[in-house]
């Protein structure tokens, strides 16, 4: 009797000890529903919706306040000022033009204005109005919606995946 009790207690303890090694539930899955604040429809194809990161979403907010009037063909208020300007400002999703410019150049031209970098003086400086972080976020938004897609300058490729 005692022996059997002893043996079963041992077995139970072993099972209990081993069971701790089992993996727990998987990490939560990504949310399938994404609201309009953190997405932007591809300008060339409205059915293609691009998800935005936090920084890109902040950039979208600044873009639709400050930049949309000249750097898009339609604005929340209707007509755009873009066709009115010579030289024509690039569309913000114009990857063919903007992908070639470095983040540093983009940061400078937004901060200091066009004339400071030998471009049109029609581009005003925003350095006293927007914070450096806000300007960075606008650039991040530009990169997110670029067509053809923006590829960041080469970094050591990562073959890594977590776990």
């Amino acid at each position: 009797m005692r022996l059997r009790f002893f043996a079963s207690a041992l077995i139970l303890m072993t099972i209990a000890g081993l069971s701790g090694c089992r993996k727990h539930a998987e990490a939560p899955k990504a949310d399938p529903l994404i609201s309009a604040y953190d997405t932007e429809a591809d300008w060339n194809d409205a059915t293609h919706v691009l998800p935005l990161s936090y920084q890109q979403a902040q950039g979208k907010r600044v873009f639709y306040q400050q930049c949309v009037w000249c750097h898009a063909d339609s604005t929340p208020a209707g007509p755009s000022n873009r066709s009115n300007l010579t030289p024509n400002p690039p569309l913000l999703n114009d990857g063919a033009t903007l992908n070639a410019e470095s983040d540093e150049f983009m940061q400078n031209i937004i901060t200091l204005g066009g004339s400071a970098l030998g471009k049109s003086a029609m581009m005003p400086p925003y350095g006293k109005m927007l914070s450096a972080e806000e300007i960075r976020s606008v650039i991040a938004f530009t990169r997110a919606i670029a067509q053809p897609p923006y590829k960041p300058p080469a970094q050591p490729a990562s073959q890594y995946s977590a776990k």
Binding site: G17, L33, S35, A77, N81, P124, A162, K163
Partner: protein
């Protein structure tokens, strides 16, 4: 067993002892193995391996700590967050790229430092947990699962009671809660309760027929078309109408319509239009078209929309401050309409409709136009014949009016207003799943699912719910959910109380002669004063600094001169000289900005040389024409400057050029680095620009959005 046997060491005992020792050894060996393979330790090792693949391996490895990392914030309700144990790269700027695998990515730049604020304050979840599932998901012991990132703005709202530019979703949600009168039945912190939620129904029997009330209650113009869009009278609308759909039975509809149609407690005497005007116009074939012309000239469309069919497509054109009027001729009784237009406050003391100085002729023409054109003969065809209301129906309606909570939003003289008819929602955002009633629904048992299910279909979680039916699109549903999740109730400790950023109290309630005119014309319906009022039209808080007095007077008497191409424009108020002078004097005295000091600038000092320099700066150096128009050339973004010298004050232009955002926060004109001399030269040039004020069809296409931000002026 005897005592002697107990002491004996048999072979059997040895065997048992040997086996059990081996098993114990095995168990002891498992435990360090188990410890080695703990989830967080695996992440620690993965991070080290990952750091080897990065260009800044040295720094990443130097910052690496092998133990459990914990953020402990004793002052903040004892937050203990071990999230950074696995989320190790959270403060490493070089790991910000989205290609960096989670959980190692850096946190996006936000105004708060992770080390000072912890993680669960915003993201919820279980801070002390060291396993993925325990940290992120709800379990029985820990009931607050992680907040899905699409609602993360709710966390900003738990401390920031005022609206932030970075949280559009939260702001929209709070706005919807207010606009849809949710505060009529629920207690919602920070959502202001206006004086009037729904219209006062004391005399509704003088305005509407029983049949119309029946139809309205049955289907308060909210319907979903086949694509799921909200439509008003069959036309697609952007905003959800305030009156939601109550699920009423036929008997209930008959009772309520009977009760409301007899509400005439203190009816106004109908206004009689001068019989000479009627005699002169009633036979005129131009009557209706003249009425339509006046309707357009008065800019009723700024607040009221009409359905317009163009190229086979019907949509609502006009503002949404007042009700949509496409079928109003079939809705209201004609004698009520005349009395209403004559004196809206006489019928509804709190209405936002201004009291216009209509002449009898205008009143007659416009009401005849409405009765003739803005009608729909099919509107009431689906309503059964209701007949005269019986005593029984009226009594039933009276009872239902209180049972359904109608008196939460609508008042009727003699009835006590209902308060807190629905549940108190001031702490809804912090509720645990166990505190919620899920009924028979199959939704996941968590707060977010509950809120969304309840909003979409109140009956799905509670078959006896009294909450009416709303129709939301996904974005609005998420916005409202975000706003509700932000309401976590009063902070638990006084230490947390210090984190709350209170809502800015806004109000502008002047007294004296100005107040009388201000109330009569309801200026605050569209304009803002010190943060109080509507946002359709420019903010007038500093109008006295901005515009010259004579310009204000001229404009008030004929508001059609500014932005002639806009649909939503200042209505023709038919203002007399005395009212215009009262308003202009008050603005010049009180609505002043401290930065625009008239004494600091003297226009007489401007020389022709300065003007020439200013013109050159405007056109060449700064190329202001990219956004502003002068003489027909230039951009559409900023206001037209053709009449800058006849409109703006010198002090305002100077202060504006130095720092636009100081005068109008949020204006889109960027602040520049002008020198003092450049500011004077540009001001001198702009002050020379003059144009007589008369309506022009070719002027700027200023945007309503820019106008709303005060930038379009």
């Amino acid at each position: 067993m005897s005592a002697e046997e107990m002491g004996k060491v048999t072979n059997r005992t040895r065997l048992v002892f040997a086996i059990s020792s081996l098993v114990f050894l095995a168990v002891l060996a498992i435990s360090p193995l188990k410890d080695f393979s703990r989830e967080w330790k695996q992440y620690k090792r993965s991070y080290l391996r990952y750091a080897q693949t990065r260009p800044d391996t040295k720094k990443l490895v130097a910052d690496y700590r092998p133990e459990i990392d914990q953020i402990w914030l004793p002052a903040m309700n004892n937050v203990v967050d071990r999230c950074t144990t696995c989320h190790q790269g959270i403060t490493q700027a070089s790991l910000a790229d989205p290609s960096v695998p989670q959980p190692f990515r850096a946190h996006p730049p936000i105004p708060h430092n992770v080390r000072d604020w912890g993680c669960t304050v915003c993201h919820r979840g279980q801070g002390p947990a060291t396993e993925v599932a325990e940290a992120h998901e709800s379990t029985l012991a820990w009931e607050q699962p992680i907040l899905p990132t699409r609602f993360i703005q709710a966390s900003c709202g738990t401390c920031h009671y005022s609206d932030l530019p970075q949280t559009p979703q939260l702001t929209r949600g709070r706005q919807l809660l207010g606009e849809l009168n949710c505060q009529g039945c629920h207690r919602l912190p920070g959502i202001d309760r206006p004086t009037m939620l729904g219209p006062d129904l004391t005399n509704v029997g003088t305005k509407l027929t029983r049949e119309w009330i029946y139809k309205w209650l049955k289907e308060p113009r909210t319907t979903l078309d086949k694509d799921g869009n909200v439509t008003v009278n069959g036309y697609e609308a952007e905003e959800e109408p305030r009156m939601p759909k109550f699920r009423l039975t036929e008997t209930e509809l008959r009772g309520l319509s009977a009760y409301l149609s007899v509400q005439k407690a203190n009816a106004l005497a109908p206004y009689k239009i001068d019989p000479r005007v009627v005699a002169a116009w009633s036979k005129n074939p131009e009557l209706v078209s003249q009425g339509e012309l006046r309707f357009r000239q008065m800019f009723c469309s700024t607040c009221h929309s009409l359905a317009v069919t163009r190229a086979g497509e019907t949509k609502l054109i006009g503002g949404d401050i007042g009700p949509e009027l496409t079928k109003v001729g079939s809705k209201v009784k004609p004698e009520w309409l005349v009395t209403w237009l004559r004196d809206p406050q006489g019928y509804l003391p709190h209405t936002r409709m201004p009291r216009y100085g209509w002449s009898d002729e205008d009143l007659y023409k416009v009401t005849q136009y409405i009765a003739a054109k803005l009608t729909d003969s099919d509107l009431l065809t689906t309503v059964p014949s209701l007949g005269q209301p019986t005593e029984e129906e009226i009594n039933l309606g009276h009872r239902l009016f209180l049972e359904k909570g109608c008196a939460s939003c609508h008042s009727i003289e003699g009835l006590n207003p209902q308060k807190d008819f629905g549940p108190d929602l001031s702490a809804i955002g912090g509720k645990n799943a166990s505190e919620l009633e899920f009924g028979a629904s199959k939704i996941p048992h968590n707060l977010v699912s509950y809120i969304q299910a309840k909003l979409q279909d109140p009956l799905s979680v509670n078959a006896a719910a009294r909450m009416p039916q709303y129709n939301w699109n996904q974005a609005d549903l998420d916005a409202i959910t975000t706003a509700l999740l932000s309401m976590k109730g009063a902070p638990a400790t006084s230490a947390l109380q210090n984190l709350v950023v209170p809502r800015k109290e806004v109000g502008f309630h002047p007294t004296g002669a100005f107040a009388e005119v201000y109330e009569r014309y309801k200026c605050y319906t569209c304009h803002k004063f010190n943060g109080f009022g509507g946002d359709l039209a420019p903010d007038l808080t500093y109008e006295g600094s901005r515009a010259q007095r004579q310009w204000i007077v001229d404009f008030l008497k004929n508001p059609q001169t500014l932005r002639p191409t806009l649909i939503l424009r200042m209505p023709q108020l038919n203002m007399n000289d005395k009212d215009a002078a009262t308003l202009a004097d008050y603005m010049a005295m009180v609505l002043q900005h401290p930065a625009a000091n008239p004494a600091a600038v003297d226009a007489k000092q401007f020389t022709p040389a300065m003007v020439a320099l200013g013109k050159q700066l405007y056109e060449v150096k700064f190329q202001c024409q990219s956004c502003h128009t002068i003489g027909g050339t230039g951009g559409y973004v900023g206001p037209n400057l053709n009449n800058a010298g006849g409109w703006l004050t010198t002090a305002w232009i100077e202060a504006w050029l130095k720092n636009p955002q100081a005068l109008v926060p949020g204006t889109i004109e960027p602040r520049r680095n002008f020198t003092e001399a450049e500011v004077h030269a540009l001001t001198a040039y702009l002050m020379t620009l003059r144009q007589s004020i008369k309506p022009q069809k070719t002027a700027s296409v200023a945007s309503p959005r820019a106008a709303a931000q005060g930038a379009g002026r």
